[in-house]
């Protein structure tokens, strides 16, 4: 079992999938000779050539539309959008094109493409380079969306995403790229659409994804010291949601706290809360708590950024209120 950094795990997944399937190609800004500003595509242009690993102009809207149509024409494009903050530029191609063709054209076409991007705060990158816009992409029918929290899942989910017959939005996190952890030796994939029970507990279910899984684990450690046994569920897949795992957990704990790094209002945590309302109202002894960014742009200065990002303090406080 090799230990790899999250960025290396992604790189390995890309390399293996490109070796396996000549229809896979990569494109995006600075992914070629430079190997990507987060180094995820390092070395791939040398191995696969400039046709299959392409540097592009700064044209996110068109690049995304091209990913959709190139997929339709038989390729398996993997597009890198450098920051999740630029996702608004991709949304016409996603909402008005990728989302509709398969259904509206009565299954005449498939669109097997992956849009990789990375979001999240904590790096002092400012209001236009730090956002988590999970709910924007998770709202779109016809798309899947995943957000790996570990090198293992980064590797396994990216392989599944590339092999999937439809569009997959792949949300990485800038603060996770250097995380080192185990990655399987074989060619194992991780199925899309399945959450992972990261830590068992009996008193409360903390439901999170991406970097917030690690913040939740820190919170769970602290809570254990107070005698509260928190279960931590890593959603991994934002759409479709793994309802069975969620309901199973809540049936055991009767309390839930949802943690998401995006904004609160109409954010991803609202959907998880509403879904639990739909399906687990009778299991719940308290309302589902949401721990999110406040509804503010992300400020630059360190003390300000620290104040708005959700972390163990906020999670612990929400759990205490919930189980009280």
């Amino acid at each position: 079992m090799a230990k790899l950094r999250y960025a290396e795990a992604l790189n390995r997944a890309l390399r293996e999938e490109m070796q396996r399937d000549p229809l896979v190609f990569l494109f995006g800004e600075d992914i070629g000779s430079y190997g990507g500003v987060f180094k995820v595509t390092r070395g791939l242009m040398d191995e696969f050539g400039a046709a299959r690993v392409r540097d592009t102009p700064i044209s996110e809207q068109t690049l995304t539309a091209m990913a959709v149509s190139a997929a339709m024409a038989g390729s398996r494009p993997v597009l890198e959008i450098m920051y999740a903050d630029f996702m608004p530029l991709t949304l016409d191609a996603l909402i008005n094109q990728a989302s509709i063709y398969e259904y509206i054209w009565a299954d005449q076409v498939r669109m097997p493409f992956v849009l990789r991007t990375q979001g999240g705060g904590g790096a002092g990158a400012g209001a236009q380079h730090s956002k988590s816009l999970d709910s924007l992409v998770a709202h779109i029918p016809g798309l899947k969306a995943v957000a790996p929290a570990t090198p293992w899942d980064a590797y396994g989910l990216l392989k599944s995403a590339i092999r999937d017959p439809g569009p997959v939005i792949f949300l990485e996190h800038k603060l996770l790229y250097n995380m080192r952890d185990e990655v399987p030796d074989g060619e194992e994939t991780v199925p899309l659409g399945r959450a992972r029970l990261v830590r068992e507990g009996t008193d409360v279910s903390i439901i999170a994804s991406s970097r917030m899984v690690h913040e939740s684990l820190l919170a769970a450690d602290r809570l254990a010291g107070e005698g509260i046994a928190a279960e931590v569920v890593d959603l991994r897949s934002l759409r479709p949601l793994d309802l069975d795992t969620l309901l199973g957990s809540v049936a055991r704990t009767h309390h839930a706290v949802v943690v998401n790094e995006g904004w609160r209002f109409c954010g991803y945590a609202a959907e998880v809360s509403a879904t639990l309302m739909d399906h687990a109202f009778d299991d719940l002894d308290a309302p589902v708590a949401r721990v999110t960014m406040p509804d503010l742009p992300i400020p630059y200065s360190e003390p300000l950024e620290r104040a708005v990002l959700p972390g163990p303090d906020e999670i612990v406080a929400a759990v205490r209120r919930t189980v009280a």
Partner: protein, 324 residues
């Protein structure tokens, strides 16, 4: 690599399809007046020479992207009249089982993917298809037909830059019909001839008489030849005119009657017929016209009698449903 003009046989087929399109448009107009259509219909009367002339030399494996005003493109690319009309009428027998409607018709088997009601969206779509064709080493080409209004969109610029940069096998076929919806091009475009913009991408460009199907054919054939042989993209600006207003919901009042009359005198059907009349018997042409009218009549009769679709949840429910 200059192409000869279309043979007489080709001209006959082009003319036949133009008549089919015109009869279709007229029948749709009549049906609309009777309340037999749904949603606005964008007729292309007066522009048949562009859509039919530009697609006449394409293979079925060549890929065309279209607009909200795509009827001539559909018929030009070889789609079946009955199934087009059935789609426009929202019937189960339509190309997309009634899900698409007239603005979004697609037939993947015929290389028409497809109509698009987001102005400009066909441009990056064709560019992405061209990238896929190039990567797969196919010698097929992509063609997007789009309007003078669409030429002002950002994705038009981004696509042309990328296509020229990567020498993609794509033909940008601009149908300059003088208006974008109700706004005259002089109030939308800072230049009268949009083809001047091609120099900004070091791309060859040409202005043609869009009401002369032979002129359109020759320009398109040259561009297709260039694209197929690795010579990259071409911009063709076909000057034409929309004789029947923006759509069936157009209330008029913004167009100059004299201008309309001028263009009506240069009706592309008249132009094409006059040219053919020098080559073949007028009885043959009369017969062809009658046949075309019959094909359209039959198509409408059949489509009107066809069953509507029944609603069903999409089988690919994982992608089209957020929850499990």
């Amino acid at each position: 690599m200059m192409t000869n003009g279309p043979s007489v046989d080709e001209q006959i087929e082009i003319y036949r399809k133009m008549v089919v399109v015109r009869r279709m448009e007229e029948a749709l107009g009549a049906l609309h007046k009777q309340g037999g259509t749904r949603g606005p219909i964008h007729r292309c009367d007066g522009q048949e020479a562009v859509g039919v002339g530009a697609t006449a030399m394409l293979r079925s494996s060549d890929q065309v992207t279209s607009t909200h005003r795509g009827h001539a493109h559909y018929i030009g690319k070889g789609l079946d009249v009955h199934r087009v009309v059935a789609e426009i009428l929202g019937k189960e027998t339509g190309y997309c089982r009634g899900r698409a409607g007239h603005m979004l018709v697609a037939s993947a088997a015929d290389g028409l993917v497809g109509g698009n009601a987001i102005v400009g969206a066909g441009i990056p779509a064709a560019t992405g298809i061209a990238l896929s064709l190039q990567l797969q080493g196919r010698d097929d080409v992509a063609m997007c037909l789009f309007g003078d209004g669409a030429a002002q969109t950002g994705i038009c610029h981004e696509s042309m830059n990328i296509a020229a940069l990567w020498k993609l096998p794509v033909i940008f076929l601009l149908e300059h019909n003088q208006y974008g919806l109700t706004v005259h091009h002089a109030a939308q475009s800072s230049v009268a001839d949009l083809s001047v913009r091609a120099a900004g991408y070091a791309m060859p460009a040409e202005i043609v008489d869009g009401n002369d199907s032979v002129a359109v054919y020759i320009a398109a054939a040259n561009a297709v030849e260039r694209a197929r042989s690795g010579g990259g993209p071409t911009l063709i600006e076909a000057k034409t005119y929309r004789l029947e207003g923006f759509s069936t919901s157009d209330m008029g009042g913004y167009q100059d009657e004299a201008e309309i009359a001028l263009w009506r005198a240069r009706d592309p059907l008249t132009v094409a017929r006059a040219r053919l009349a020098g080559e073949i018997d007028t009885e043959v042409l009369d017969g062809l016209e009658a046949d075309a009218a019959q094909v359209v009549d039959d198509a409408f009769a059949a489509a009107l009698a066809d069953p509507p679709p029944e609603f069903e949840l999409h089988p690919a429910s994982a992608a089209y449903s957020g929850g499990a």
